[in-house]
């Protein structure tokens, strides 16, 4: 019996560069939306594009952007961290406790210096991250469940520190030598608020880790195909542990910034922040399945959400409509993301300039 080869259908020769450009625009859509929103609000609300408002805006954006940077790490491995809001609250409360109550040794309260207070607060946050990482990579608990559990644990811990009360007056006292705390969230450097500088620093570190180190590549690999990563010799548990530590670090820093801005630590701080962070990450084009995305995207995503809420407030849109619009934007972003993957898959053979069959 003889069989005849069926010749494969001819692919139209499209200029590779034009395809690449089209894909790039589709990829950078979050940035396009951000610019469009800024232009729109500047046009509709004259007070929007003023130095004063932009300063307030960047402060807001910095908070959710820092959380989103940490969240990106966990989402890139195919995980999620629901505990960030609680960790932020807990870290603020730990700092508040140390600054206002001190440590009682033999009936006398000792007040540690501000830097020690900050370090201890961050360490407590990292402890929650460590617990998350251990639960997920060693005990095999699904990330959603593990961090849902630590969401409650950390929030309970925050409430327990003060028995549910607020620690006011974090400005400290000169006699105790701990008056520097408010500067963390309130000072300006070269015209930019401190939280924005912290955000930029964390962003730079995150980009370097993800783009320039083997660890970063391993994070993408674990998210892209965990079993393949394991077989290639990557220590998957370690990689996952790192991402939850990174996320907890960012969350703790956010908690400290908020406490510093308010000069008070409130145990309910950070409630539902995790949802904003996830929204920012998803808007930035990071796939919740893992393996695809970037911190740059998350930063832009946080920008979109920040600009959207501030702009809508300035336009006098009701709070209820704001929620509806925010929801629509998030859902639309993910729908477009799916479209992009399909379009990209379709154009891939064109980029190769040959049939995928290769030898056929």
């Amino acid at each position: 019996m003889t069989t005849t080869m069926v010749s494969p259908p001819r692919t139209p020769r499209v200029r590779t560069t034009s395809v690449r450009t089209a894909l790039f625009i589709l990829k950078a859509r979050a940035a396009v939306v951000l610019v469009a929103l800024v232009l729109l609000f500047s046009y509709l609300a004259p007070a929007f594009f003023t130095a004063n408002n932009l300063t307030i805006l960047t402060k807001h954006v910095a908070i959710s952007a820092i959380l989103a940077i940490g969240m990106t790490f966990t989402v890139l491995t195919g995980g999620i961290d629901l505990s960030v809001g609680s960790v932020a609250g807990l870290a603020g409360m730990v700092a508040g406790f140390l600054l206002t109550q001190g440590i009682a040794v033999g009936g006398v309260s000792h007040y540690p210096p501000t830097l020690i207070c900050i370090a201890v607060a961050i360490a407590v946050g990292l402890l929650v991250g460590l617990l998350n990482g251990w639960l997920i990579s060693k005990a095999g608990v699904a990330p959603f469940i593990a961090t849902l559990g630590t969401l409650y644990i950390a929030r309970g811990g925050a409430l327990l520190t003060s028995n549910g009360k607020t620690f006011p007056n974090l400005a400290g006292e000169a006699a105790r030598g701990n008056t520097e705390f408010p500067s963390l969230g309130q000072t300006f450097l070269c015209g930019l608020p401190m939280p924005v500088w912290i955000m930029l620093l964390l962003f730079a570190v995150a980009v370097i880790v993800l783009r320039k180190t083997p660890l970063g590549r391993h994070i993408y690999a674990v998210g892209g195909n965990e079993r393949a990563a394991q077989l290639a010799g990557i220590r998957v548990p370690r990689v996952k542990l790192f991402t939850y530590l990174a996320s907890a670090l960012c969350a703790a820093i956010v908690g400290l910034i908020i406490a510093s801005q308010l000069e008070a630590a409130h145990p309910a701080t950070g409630e539902s922040f995790e949802l904003n962070a996830i929204a920012a990450v998803v808007l930035g084009g990071t796939s919740l399945m893992g393996g695809r995305g970037s911190v740059g995207g998350s930063l832009i995503g946080a920008g979109v959400i920040g600009v959207l809420s501030d702009g809508l407030v300035m336009l006098g849109v009701s709070e209820f409509w704001q929620m509806v619009i925010k929801g629509i934007v998030i859902v639309a972003a993910v729908a477009i993301d799916q479209l992009q993957s399909r379009v990209q898959a379709k154009f891939l053979p064109l980029l190769l300039g040959s049939e995928p069959e290769g030898a056929a």
């Binding site: 019996m1 394991q230 891939l348 995928p356 069959e357």
Partner: protein, 519 residues
């Protein structure tokens, strides 16, 4: 084709099916003869399963058509195929172990009263009826989870019988059965044939095929390469067509110079699945072998022989139950694949898509995945190293910055080999080194592995393809049901010897031929 057209109940005409990177079927013509056992044979990746999925409505062909009783039909779903009287019993049984037999037999097509209430009584009666026809009346209220594999298969068959199946597809039905269970199945097949059912039968086991089959079709690399009635078919005929050449035509490669000191030594290795203490059901039993630097050792075995389990254990991915593994006379205590990589043992897995590639990363990143150890990636060095490897392994890609998914199967496989080489390994393990790879790339990969062995790398590969085993191995161990049943050197790796040793009925004492190094 002297038979009348009327004898053909189902026909596939010029069916072509493409997957990203490969063509699974190329203009395949396949005729199914009424009331006969139609045997389909071919090595792994020949396209058998794809063809069956098309006949059962699971997949649609890219080109070509299906004719039932001479009239063209389109099967959009398995449900439509069932409505046309075509049923399939898959290789992996799809029995719900938490449901009872009657529920299983009627899953997805429950008998109802008043439109909503399940008619248990009717279901149970009809289930029992179907099981009686299979000569195995079981209690239909028993949970399916308690059944043996053979009985589970009967439950699936009962489901198809109750659907008044005219054409029944059996995909490797005996691969998991004991000999007694297999014999019972053959009796059932005879009964079914007598009651007017047409059977399409897929298996690797020549003995049972020659015993059961009426019509034979051989597939190789997605094409039909032979078709004949039972009277014209011999073992020789099948083997020649499957491997694509005369049994006498042998590939002779100069044997390579090998060091005497073994690189890898495996002693009395037993791997049992977790919680299963019985050695009888162990995946790998009492296996000893050694690989020297510069040597290519093949492990040949059929589906379920324990090939993959053996390689994964040596790579550190799974734990051993007993036995010892030495690398250069040092006892290995690997706790993970990462430990194995650190020791210089790399595995190229059987399933590229599932276990090998990271889809969103570029070709360069996939190659360099495991290599970078410093704190920062040295991009220039890495680009140069991956370029050199890609060139050495003739990876056909215009740009290493493209996603790895853009490559064909053969080139993806080269990428995975390059990933291992980037870490300068001492032992390379390959599970089905050329599965789903086109012919040209196959030859490339064999050449690459030969060259690597000459450079002093130890290579251990597992394969279920005779042709591949013969083309690549300096020496081959045949694995059957977890045990080594033969140790053959190049001059003794005949099709017959490999087949005989790999078949479960073969004697269990290892046969060693003169001149073959001891395992």
């Amino acid at each position: 084709m002297s038979l009348m057209r009327n004898d053909i109940i189902l026909e596939a005409r010029a069916v072509t099916r493409r997957y990203p990177g490969t063509i699974a079927l190329k203009a395949v013509d396949f005729s199914v003869y009424r009331n006969q056992v139609n045997v389909l044979i071919g090595e792994n990746g020949a396209g058998k399963s794809t063809l069956m999925r098309i006949l059962a409505g699971v997949e649609a062909p890219d080109e070509g058509e299906l004719l039932l009783e001479g009239a063209p039909i389109a099967l959009a779903s398995p449900r439509e195929a069932v409505q046309h009287g075509i049923s399939i019993v898959h290789q992996e049984l799809s029995v719900f172990s938490n449901l009872d037999l009657a529920d299983n037999i009627f899953a997805g097509r429950e008998e109802v009263r008043v439109g909503v209430v399940v008619d248990r009584k009717r279901e149970e009666e009809r289930s029992l009826d179907a099981l009686r026809r299979l000569r195995k009346p079981m209690n239909v209220r028993h949970q399916a989870g308690h059944l043996s594999l053979g009985s589970r298969q009967l439950v699936e068959l009962a489901r198809t019988l109750d659907q008044r199946t005219k054409i029944l597809i059996l995909d490797e039905p005996t691969s998991a059965l004991s000999n007694a269970e297999a014999q019972a199945l053959f009796n059932v097949i005879d009964d079914l044939k007598r009651s007017g059912v047409t059977i399409i039968y897929i298996s690797h086991r020549l003995n049972e095929l020659l015993h059961l089959g009426d019509r034979f079709t051989v597939l190789r690399s997605g094409r039909v390469v032979g078709e004949a009635p039972r009277s014209d078919v011999t073992r020789q005929w099948i083997v020649e067509r499957m491997s694509g050449r005369d049994a006498a035509d042998r590939v002779t490669e100069p044997s390579v110079v090998v060091e005497e000191l073994p690189l890898l030594r495996v002693e009395r290795l037993t791997i049992a699945t977790s919680g299963d203490e019985q050695a009888e059901r162990a995946m790998v039993r009492d296996v000893s072998l050694s690989v020297r630097a510069g040597e290519i050792l093949g492990i040949y075995g059929l589906l379920g022989a324990g090939r993959t389990e053996l390689l994964e254990c040596i790579a550190g991915l799974t734990a051993r139950t007993s036995g010892a593994i030495f690398l250069r006379d040092v006892l290995l205590q690997l706790k993970s694949a990462a430990d194995g990589v650190k020791a210089g043992i790399h595995l190229v897995p059987e399933d590229r898509q599932r276990d090998g590639l990271i889809p969103h990363l570029t070709i360069r990143e996939n190659i360099a995945l495991a290599a970078a150890r410093a704190f920062f990636i040295e991009r220039k060095k890495e680009t140069a190293a991956t370029r050199r490897l890609a060139k050495e392994l003739s990876v056909a890609a215009p740009d290493l910055e493209l996603p790895v998914t853009a490559l064909s199967g053969g080139n993806q496989q080269k990428v995975l080999i390059a990933r291992c080489l980037m870490c300068s390994p001492s032992l390379l393990l390959l599970d089905e080194p050329t599965r789903g790879v086109d012919v040209g790339a196959k030859a490339d990969i064999y050449g690459i592995l030969r060259k690597l062995a000459k450079q002093g790398l130890g290579i251990l590969f597992a394969s279920s393809e005779i042709e591949e085993t013969q083309a690549l191995a300096d020496r081959v161990l045949v694995l059957c049901q977890g045990r080594i049943t033969a140790n053959l050197d190049r001059t003794h790796m005949t099709d017959e010897a490999l087949f005989a040793a790999a078949s479960p009925s073969a004697p269990t004492t290892p046969r060693t031929y003169p001149g073959a190094a001891l395992a």
